[in-house]
């Protein structure tokens, strides 16, 4: 066995020129097991995608779950090894690139590499992505049971997990872009899983087009950055663009466009890419519609993993973002506006999953602006950001806790939907008797997201608010209000589902969905309750040095009290069935309507695309295509046909004709060579 591994290693080294850097003291076993983490789900995808529907239809879920279990164990093991044993050198968490090979080299230094980058955030993301994905896999065993395309579902889940893990591990910005697109594709496949449902088809197209549109920004940003830095590698990129007075930084600063430096432009464009995936205003329109996918998929993709890819991207590029004040401000204001905007909409929605979707958008807004405020105290070109970057840690912490409790919320919602066969809040109510476990876990998640101590969300949100407070009063106040709104709409949801009116439960009564559905709920609830006690600042910081998070209990008074206010308001309005909500909605007439219609952003998009773009750009382009382009193509075709009709007659089968052509050819050639061409 050892021999086999050694030979494989040799072949990899010699022929594929995969560099296995011996920086990890643990040796190469560790390095290859890293590769297994994304490749196992991919193997599951291939296996189930190719053979699933015919041969292993019934065991597909078990196979995929087992493969992912191995991945999860590996990544948690690696997280343990990294954080507690080998990651820290001289008191700082190091960046390792244990595996890397060059795939495509454009010029000296500029190449697309495939590698694995190990640093605190990627290790953290590996653990959380595999964990949530595993939960969703287990949950789906029951939730999707009996579905026609059960193996296909698991194949898509495997593809998604693979892409997301590849994105997280990417050591090269272009590698990240490739996996970024793969994530987009698998999300498209999963949203459109119920492909015979027109709304699902429309939703998956919308999601794909909107995120693809945003990815254009990402690509442009990559190109600008690589043009100035002369590399695509993350580490080199960061090194070159953050060293004071380096040639690359100078060129990125001095070339300006519309008053902003190339660096700022690149950062903003990359952020637009991230904003598309993370559903930031105004590219958020796809996220609520994406809820057409199966609910576990929403939990995986649209709550815990894919939508935070944008946050992850900004965090990964954080040193570069922090070199540009303009980009940081952009990130901050887009983030805080999305947070407030989504929270307002969430208060008015009646579809359980849409409420959760807007809540996700709002929470991601929190993470974004936390990133935005964390580096803004920097002076341009200054290297020293020690002591700052509190927002960075806070954003990553919130990403971590949010992934857990939002997945829990979605899975809980899935359990409710599974029970009641409807997404609409008006069909629900009084379910606490029927779904006791769901009730309790959902309550824990709601408390966590509202920021009630001692649940996970409290700690992370506290850090975000602290970072905002240190940065700017305005942002702090908006964030505070938003967090109050969060508490309100989450508990509105909670009370409307589990309290309020009693529901007439239909004859068929199949309980909560069994062990496979309850296990993830309970595990995630434990996470949502206790994840906040992890001293996150010790592990994940902007510069790798552990940071002491100072906890001011006086500071917590305001957020906690506003959260409690939100909760009690919701309780007052929705605990019992009454007409107070309607009365309030009526009194707020215009505002309520605007919120209910999501502030007409979708209509605005439709207006811009259908009325303006289609008429002014689409129609002329179509005319040009039909008449000029097609005309040219047809002309070529017709000419060829005409000529070939003529040529066809030469092939007559008449030997003597052939002989005449032959003689004519010989004489012609003779004339040419004798008289013309001497």
């Amino acid at each position: 066995m050892i021999e086999v591994i050694r030979i494989t290693y040799y072949i990899m080294n010699e022929f594929l020129q995969i560099r296995l850097l011996q920086v990890l003291p643990i040796g190469w076993n560790f390095g290859w097991s890293l590769l297994l983490i994304p490749l196992l789900p991919f193997a599951g995808f291939l296996l189930l995608g190719l053979f699933g529907r015919k041969y292993i239809k019934n065991s597909a879920g078990i196979i995929a779950t087992a493969l992912l279990l191995v991945s999860t164990v590996l990544s948690i093991y690696i997280a343990y090894v990294y954080f507690f044993e080998y990651g820290k050198v001289m008191g700082m968490y190091q960046k390792f690139v244990p595996i890397q090979f060059t795939w495509l080299e454009f010029s000296q230094g500029v190449s697309i590499d495939f590698g694995v980058l190990i640093d605190p955030i990627s290790v953290m993301m590996l653990a959380i992505v595999t964990f949530i994905s595993l939960m969703v896999h287990i949950y789906s065993l029951a939730y999707m049971k009996g579905d026609e395309r059960f193996p296909t579902y698991y194949a898509f889940l495997g593809l998604f997990t693979f892409s997301m893990l590849g994105l997280v591990m990417a050591s090269n910005i272009f590698q990240m872009y490739i996996f970024w697109e793969l994530v987009g594709v698998s999300s498209f496949l999963l949203i459109g899983y119920y492909y015979n449902k027109p709304s699902a088809v429309a939703a998956c197209k919308k999601a794909f087009i909107v995120t693809r549109f945003a990815d254009l920004g990402f690509l442009l940003g990559i190109l600008i950055l690589s043009f100035h830095a002369g590399t695509l590698d993350f580490n080199t990129l960061v090194q070159r663009l953050t060293v004071d007075g380096s040639e690359e930084l100078h060129s990125a600063y001095t070339s300006t466009f519309l008053g902003a430096s190339a660096l700022t432009w690149a950062a903003i464009l990359i952020f637009i890419g991230g904003a598309g995936k993370s559903a930031m205003f105004p590219l958020h329109v796809w996220l609520p519609d994406a809820m057409e996918g199966p609910t576990p998929v929403s939990a995986l993709i649209h709550a815990a993993t894919m939508v935070v890819a944008g946050v992850y991207l900004v965090a990964r590029m954080f040193p570069i973002f922090s070199m540009s004040e303009g980009a940081m401000h952009f990130v901050t204001y887009v983030g805080i506006f999305s947070a407030l905007f989504a929270a307002l909409i969430a208060c008015t929605q009646t579809d359980i999953k849409r409420v959760l979707a807007y809540s996700t958008m709002s929470q991601i807004g929190f993470m974004m602006f936390a990133l935005g405020v964390s580096g803004s105290n920097l002076k341009n070109g200054s290297l020293n950001y020690s002591g700052l970057g509190a927002g960075y840690t806070a954003a990553m912490f919130h990403l971590f806790t949010h992934a857990i409790f939002k997945a829990l919320l979605f899975l809980g919602a899935g359990s409710v939907i599974h029970f009641i066969h409807s997404n609409e809040l008006k069909d629900m109510g009084g379910l606490r008797k029927y779904l006791p476990i769901t009730n309790i876990t959902f309550l824990i998640a709601c408390l966590a997201i509202s920021g009630v101590p001692p649940f996970a969300g409290f700690f992370s949100k506290e850090e975000i608010l602290l970072a905002a407070y240190q940065h700017k009063a305005l942002i702090y106040w908006i964030a505070l209000i938003t967090s109050g709104l969060t508490a309100f709409y989450m508990f509105r949801l909670y009370f409307l589902i589990f309290w309020n009116k009693g529901t007439i439960v239909h004859g068929e009564h199949h309980g909560e969905g069994g062990f496979a559905m309850m296990l993830p709920l309970v595990l995630l609830a434990v996470g949502a309750a206790f994840a906040g006690f992890i001293p996150f600042g010790n592990f994940v910081t902007a510069d790798g040095k552990p940071m002491e998070v100072v906890f001011h209990w006086q500071f917590s008074i305001a957020p906690v009290s506003i959260a409690l206010a939100g909760i009690f308001t919701a309780m007052w309005l929705y605990r019992k069935q009454n007409n107070k909500p309607v009365a309030i909605a009526n009194s707020l007439n215009v505002f309520y309507k605007a919120g209910y219609n999501k502030f007409y952003i979708d209509e605005l998009y439709l207006f811009i695309t259908k009325k303006i773009l289609f008429n002014l750009v689409g129609r002329p382009a179509a005319w040009f295509d039909k008449n000029v382009v097609d005309g040219m193509v047809n002309l070529t075709g017709n000419t060829t046909q005409l000529i070939s009709e003529k040529i066809k007659e030469f092939q007559s089968g008449k030997v003597q004709q052939y002989a005449i052509y032959f003689l004519a050819g010989v004489i012609g050639l003779a004339v040419v060579f004798i008289y013309i061409w001497k």
Partner: protein, 172 residues
């Protein structure tokens, strides 16, 4: 005008005239006979050039072999007294024009060209010289082409037999 010259012109006339008749007459048997005369004329030209061996081969192979073969195949495929079908007049004209153009081009080239002559000692084409050379494996020997041609003849013989074999009646 010496006798040799007279003989040459007579042979030339015999060759060309019977050649023309061979390709124009509408009676196929006569065409074969005119071909025979034309070939004999060429053999005569070889004699005139004192290439006795080639002339003998020409008479043996062409006059005695191929012509007889052609005449036999005429007997096999043609009804007696039947005239060959007429060709279209257009085709005739075009063919004549093409042949004439080619001929004219060749003649123009021929007249403009001067051939070098050599002063080296000529080798007489006697039968013994030819035999030595043909079976020689030295330089300027022709043993290899000789063998190749013999294999070719063998292949042609087998091929003829295969082609001419009556195909087995297919059992339906």
């Amino acid at each position: 005008m010496s006798g040799s010259t007279i003989i040459f012109y007579m042979l030339a006339a015999l060759t060309l005239v019977s050649g023309i008749l061979a390709v124009t007459t509408r009676q196929i048997f006569r065409a074969a006979i005119f071909l025979l005369f034309s070939l004999i004329g060429i053999a005569g030209l070889y004699f005139w050039m004192q290439y006795d061996f080639v002339a003998a081969v020409q008479i043996v192979v062409y006059v005695g072999g191929i012509t007889v073969l052609i005449i036999f195949s005429i007997f096999l495929t043609q009804q007696a007294g039947e005239l060959l079908p007429k060709q279209k007049i257009g085709r005739l004209l075009y063919s004549a024009l093409a042949a004439f153009c080619g001929f004219a081009l060749t003649m123009v080239q021929l007249c403009q060209h001067t051939f070098k002559t050599t002063t080296e000692q000529p080798i007489l084409p006697t039968v013994s010289n030819i035999g030595d050379r043909m079976l020689s494996v030295e330089e300027n020997g022709f043993a290899l082409p000789f063998e190749v041609v013999s294999i070719l003849l063998l292949a042609a013989m087998i091929g003829c037999i295969v082609i001419a074999l009556r195909s087995k009646p297919t059992t339906a």
